[in-house]
């Protein structure tokens, strides 16, 4: 599904990732852990094609990212749902429109959008907040909207960059439950976090980065 082969990424003389190799199978739930600056975000950016590797190769669902033409990038991204720590919601649009935009981009009909958005909102338990604007939502609720937006397009991979970083314990547990549910439906999940408590005793795969090196690849 996702394969990194000796991938190196350097930002102005700082090596963010150094010869990192791993592969993730379809339907797998993988944590990417490590302290701040370890290279977690860089690794995710390389997966959703926001960055190009300086060395090595990456393949996503059989696509070699280096040989991918720029105009193909949006179509590859539609297969990747992204959840950010800072939510990246559109402040001038309500919850419904924030989720619907992911489908409008794909050219889905409005009638179909309606049912799919409500389905996604049901999964994150936010059907009662359809008309609310992001500023009126709590951090946990905003993150659930982001998750709904990421999954409404039915991506094969869901990437989450510190999705619980700004949330309290209860909200974190709720978000984790949603991710496990999504994964149970067959979606591959790559979940970056520095919170080792979250990873502990899950029995899921953990890729640990430190200073740009992949130092551990094992089950929690």
């Amino acid at each position: 599904m996702i394969k990194f082969n000796e991938v190196t990424k350097v930002y102005e003389n700082i090596t963010a990732l150094r010869k990192v190799s791993f592969s993730i199978e379809k339907g797998e739930f993988t944590f990417v852990t490590g302290p701040s600056g370890a290279g977690k975000s860089t690794l995710l950016k390389l997966i959703y094609l926001a960055e190009k590797p300086d060395e090595g190769s990456i393949s996503i669902a059989g696509w070699e990212t280096l040989s991918l033409k720029e105009k193909a990038i949006p179509f590859v991204r539609r297969n990747i749902g992204i959840v950010f720590q800072d939510f990246k919601l559109l402040p001038n649009k309500n919850v419904y429109d924030n989720i619907a935009i992911a489908l409008r981009i794909r050219g889905v009909k409005e009638s179909e959008i309606k049912s799919r958005v409500h389905e996604a909102l049901k999964l994150v338990n936010l059907r009662h907040k359809t008309e609310s604007f992001p500023s009126a939502l709590s951090g946990g609720e905003q993150q659930r909207v982001t998750i709904a937006r990421a999954i409404v397009g039915e991506p094969t991979v869901l990437i989450a960059d510190e999705p619980t970083g700004n949330l309290d314990v209860d909200n974190t547990a709720g978000i984790m439950r949603i991710f496990r549910e999504i994964n149970a439906k067959g979606t591959t999940i790559i979940f970056a976090t520095h919170n080792m408590e979250l990873v502990k005793n899950t029995g899921l795969r953990v890729l640990k980065l430190d200073n740009g090196n992949l130092v551990r690849d094992e089950r929690a």
Binding site: K52, I73, P74, L90
Partner: protein, 290 residues
């Protein structure tokens, strides 16, 4: 459809700033329209000038009927000749006497008619082209028993220069104001683009194509341009109406004509210039950092 909705929403949201842009675009297009209006009328006036242009073909005294018929046959066939008039040497003398009036005594004592038979040729206004006229003159000069061909070379040159000068000046002004309209829509959309930069980044991450991202901005720029064009058309109508109202002190103003197809097409010109400005403002969208 979604792009159109988004564009209209944004136009309404920033309606006061957009109104200013529309007025600025309209001002540019209005000036452009006035220039086209002036050029159109100058061209029309210039197009009547060739009617005063004549070519005098002086024939030799030895010219036979056959020579004269040959010349007239050629003039009849020429597509640029409007009309011609043959003046025999006798008629020429009569005309001279008439024009000298009281001084006609100068001609007394002259036994022999010193004048030459001639043909006065006029050119069709629609066919008034320097090369065509020169070709005709050269052909006539080469005909047998044609002594001389005299034409108003300076009038000829000035018609040419006036038309060319006005056209050049007009084109320059049109280009300048077209650029200014492009610049206004460019800066309006550029500001909008910067303000929505975060939103655009989110769209990119969600898998939006460049077309999806660009289209609301281009629609917005085009609508601003088209509205500016409509306003400019109305202003030109008003301008010409007022101008023609000064009929009494300056009578020729009543004869000025507004080129209607141009006024009708001005909103489309605005739309095209607005779309061009927006497209330039959006520049190259990048999905990846190096």
């Amino acid at each position: 459809m979604y792009s159109l909705r988004l564009a209209l929403k944004s136009l309404w949201h920033d309606r006061w700033i957009n109104l200013l842009s529309v007025i600025t675009i309209a001002t540019g297009l209005f000036i452009l329209g006035v220039v086209v209006f002036s050029l159109y009328n100058v061209e029309k006036i210039a197009s009547h000038m060739p009617e005063r242009f004549t070519i005098n073909v002086f024939l030799s005294n030895k010219a036979t009927d056959r020579d004269i018929k040959g010349l007239i046959k050629y003039l009849k066939r020429s597509p640029i000749v409007k009309d011609y008039r043959y003046i025999s040497k006798e008629d020429a003398l009569k005309e001279l006497r008439r024009s000298l009036k009281d001084a006609a005594y100068i001609l007394e004592g002259i036994d022999e008619n010193p004048l030459f038979p001639s043909v006065v040729v006029r050119i069709k206004s629609s066919e008034f082209d320097k090369n065509k006229v020169m070709e005709l003159i050269d052909r006539i000069k080469g005909m047998s028993r044609v002594d001389d061909v005299i034409y108003a070379a300076r009038l000829f040159e000035s018609i040419e220069k006036l038309s060319r000068g006005f056209r050049l000046l007009g084109l320059g002004i049109i280009l300048l104001f077209s650029l200014s309209v492009v610049f206004v829509s460019y800066s309006t959309v550029k500001i909008l683009f910067y303000r929505r930069n975060e939103e655009i980044e989110i769209y990119k991450l969600l898998g939006a194509t460049k077309g999806f991202i660009r289209s609301p901005f281009i629609i917005e720029g085009s609508v601003l341009g088209a509205l500016g064009g409509c306003l400019a058309s109305a202003a030109i109508f008003g301008f010409v109406f007022i101008l023609k109202g000064y009929n009494n002190p300056v009578p020729f103003l009543a004869y000025l004509k507004l080129p209607m197809p141009f006024v009708a097409v001005l909103p489309v010109v605005g739309l095209a210039l607005g779309a061009a400005g927006s497209t330039i403002a959006l520049g190259r969208l990048k999905y990846q950092d190096a």
